[in-house]
Symmetry: C2
Subunit: 520 residues, 2 copies
């Protein structure tokens, strides 16, 4: 067995089922091993930002390590921005990056680069495998590392000759250590302040925003009148009529201050204290009021689900106790709510809320155009909502690819701003090739609108023609229907809300991907 | 004057005329300063791979530092692959990368990353400017560094508060040190072996492939019967009826061996000894015959032009002495040579050769489909030919953008393989916005054909369905005419050689960009 075969078989034995990739010459022996084994599905992206973003989406939905195969330093470099987002999402990813054969590295041939240095800022675990007999073991350890601490990025660099030489051995993947529980003191202090009667916010990140963690948070909120929040950059929230209501912290600092002003206690569960993305020359960066006591129940690398369940236990709230029910004015949206006529972001949000299929996965990089979407869909049928965790734009369509591959039985609804969507537009091709049930909605405001707002927020005056040209991405207008057609995805541009609703519904009912351009 | 103003004015005073950019919030004070000054043209790319690739093309054609403005770690990360190519092209680039305000960096907010670590593998000069009063001086030093050693990448990281604080000062840019001349011994040894009468090849890289360096090489070749070669990955070659003939080293190792087998002496001028891109499990990597003496006249960081001129002087060859004339069988191609009927790569090459406008700039990332282009155009009207120096695909269209902005009076003809083109397809939008006279020819073989060949070269057998799916990028076929339309570029798919010739000619005669999809 050569090294590549031991690598691929170790990965398969360790639970890897999908390979997101754009391989090159230095990875061909790994490709051959994948080809021979046939057990790992290979998904090609026409650019590595698609590959790493899809890996992120897959890992968010399966909670298992996603596997990427990348070509040397440049292939890895192209995937870094979405690895930045994935790192912030704390998802488990195993990157296998090809390297020149060891003896060849001294020659500094054109594709040579310092791959370890490129990987380091985005990898919690990093190793170059320089011995064929160890490659299987290195791969198994990469999986273990990826699963540790609630999910990490592990990068294993594989020189071509280490892959092609004989002497490989399949290695068994051991269990990853369970993330540590926070101390009893922290649990008891959380329970105590929740009993105090002071207005309490619970800010939750990571895996506690869905499943049993969210249910425990819901029991706590229901019993104590605490309010649940998610950071603006969250990875995944479970939502629906019977899910606890979680409010997202606003991106705009003044709105976030407003959200927190009534609270005197803030409990952090797998999330850092809320802060604006950017500093401002004169404004304070404080979001929580100064008189608000901040208590860290669990850090992002600790067992947040266990922490919430322990607090619920300490409060005497058993599993099965009721979660906060929706209030009467939060009844589920209905088709009757869909407005007609001119397109507005509010009208689009209402249509989405009414038509969202049960168990949909919503991927949201709608930026300034989509701020009404989450409130509007609060009472929609059960769904998961995935966000941009690291602020590096170009995540939505790749993330949707990965989520759709992870959950073929679920519909994916992907919102992308036009500026963000252009970063990784190649994802549309993978949607088409794989026949993924993804409806992509492009909010075409033809601008980096957030920059216009920040320019004004920084009191930089009215932007002149040069600055305006850097914020406006019209001239020429992007034609997303043509772009989608170019990559094999049927698309439509809508001119009214009823048309939007009609095409959205049709998209949900049709096999394969669809794109809807919504001019704003 | 705030820091941003001192930065921008220092750059302008240092000769910077164009800013290639995709800025974000952390760079808005720099944008405001550019906006106020108005002297630096700003060119927006909808993805940073376009920004850095365009900077490379601009620097290759102007021989002056290109300036990019990038958004934090992720913006820089997206530009790294084309910075890898630019580093290999040894072009001068000054990257200004925004960073969070110094006091904000401690909070590890979502867009935070270790920008210095991200920049390091691709920057020969790297600094974070942490003092407003020093920012101008840092920018001036970045320009000096970029121009040094025949061209380097200099990256200056600018925290937002360093940019927005008052106390900036414009700094004067000093001269960059001239690249050192090789020793007299190396010059005299080169002249001596050229006089020996043994078969000699001269392998030239960098700036000696055009202008006075190439003319000196031509005089030497003409007088001594030496043959001139360029590495496969060259930055820029000047070509035409009165330019010395330079043969490119073949990408395919066996062909390269064939090219060098007759030579007993090889003189290196700004180029490394020829080697294959990749090692092979069993084949030798030697290209030059073992009995060939290799003499390094000048290294890539030395004065290659001066070295060649000194050798010519030593051989008594004055400036103005004749260059090797084209032989009779290398007469210029003519319109009469254009074949009709079914599209072939040879037929496309013949049409290009006949129709290439005088002083055109050809950008070539045609990969496997374009191997006939350089031989066919050997006798075409005067032109420059730009290649992919680092092997990271996705360079052609961005490079064409930068070359067209550098040389608005020249026509740019851009060849891209379909797989390569998808990497940075967003460049089409910038071509349209800026009204650039670029004709882009997409060779649509619907495959990563080089990988198919290498798979066979590695004796990996017939690829099975899984491997085939990673090499074929059909299913669905990319529709490049639709993609171009989506970004505002008129395009056509051609089905015969006469149609190709007709549309190529029309493209050359029309203002603004055009795209031609050539299905193969």
């Amino acid at each position: 067995m050569n090294g590549a075969q031991s690598l691929v078989r170790t990965l398969a034995a360790g639970g890897i089922e999908v390979c997101f990739t754009n391989p090159g010459t230095s990875e061909l022996h790994v490709v051959a091993a994948l080809d021979q084994l046939g057990d790992i599905r290979c998904v090609l992206g026409l650019f590595e930002g698609v590959v790493t973003g899809a890996a992120d989406g897959y890992a968010r939905m399966t909670e298992r390590p996603a596997f990427t195969l990348l070509h040397l330093g440049p292939g890895l470099a192209n995937g870094l921005a979405n690895l930045h987002n994935a790192r912030r999402a704390r998802v488990p990813i195993v990157n296998i990056v090809g390297q020149h054969a060891i003896a060849h590295q001294q020659y500094d041939t054109p594709l040579s680069s310092n791959i370890e240095a490129i990987a380091l800022p985005f990898s919690k675990w990093l190793r170059t495998s320089n011995d064929t007999s160890r490659l299987g073991r290195d791969a198994a350890e990469a999986i273990v590392a990826a699963r540790a601490k609630n999910g990490q990025i592990a990068t294993l660099i594989v020189p071509a000759d280490v892959a092609w030489k004989e002497g490989g051995a399949i290695s068994e993947t051991s269990h990853s250590p369970h993330p540590p529980m926070p101390s009893v003191d922290r649990v008891e202090h959380a329970a105590a302040i929740l009993r105090s009667g002071r207005k309490t916010a619970i800010l939750i990140g990571g895996k506690a925003l869905y499943g049993s963690g969210l249910r425990a948070a819901g029991r706590i909120a229901n019993a104590t009148d605490a309010k649940l929040f998610a950071p603006y950059p969250f990875a995944r929230i479970e939502r629906g009529p019977v899910s606890p209501v979680v409010e997202r912290v606003a991106y705009i600092c003044e709105q976030a201050v407003e959200q927190f002003k009534e609270f005197r206690q803030l409990i952090l569960v797998g999330a850092l204290a809320p802060l604006p993305y950017f500093a401002h020359p004169t404004k304070s960066i404080a979001i929580a009021p100064t008189e608000c006591e901040i208590h860290k129940l669990a850090g992002p690398e600790e067992d947040c689900i266990g922490a919430l369940e322990s607090v619920a236990d300490s409060l005497g709230l058993r599993q099965g106790a009721a979660s906060p029910a929706l209030k009467v004015d939060q009844r589920g949206p209905s088709v009757g709510d869909i407005a007609k006529g001119e397109i507005t972001t509010r009208g689009v949000a209402a249509a989405v809320a009414a038509l969202l299929p049960e168990n949909a996965i919503v991927v949201d990089e709608s930026m300034t155009s989509g701020r009404e979407l989450m409130p509007a869909t609060q009472g929609s049928l059960h769904h998961d909502w995935l966000g941009n965790t690291g602020g590096s734009i170009g995540i939505a369509m790749p993330l949707a690819v990965g989520a759709a591959i992870a959950c073929p039985e679920r519909r994916v609804l992907c919102f992308s701003a036009d500026g963000s969507g252009m970063y990784t537009n190649q994802a549309l091709w993978t949607m088409s090739r794989e026949g993924l049930n993804i409806t992509t909605v492009i909010f075409a405001n033809r601008a980096y609108a957030v920059l216009k707002r920040e320019f004004s927020n920084f009191s930089l005056g009215n932007p002149g023609p040069l600055a305006c040209d850097l914020f406006d991405i019209g001239r020429p207008d992007l034609d997303w229907v043509a772009l989608a057609k170019g990559m094999g995805v049927p698309g439509a541009r809508v001119t009214s809300l009823e048309e939007f609703a009609k095409i959205l519904r049709k998209g949900f009912e049709t096999d394969g991907p669809t794109l809807i351009e919504v001019p704003l």
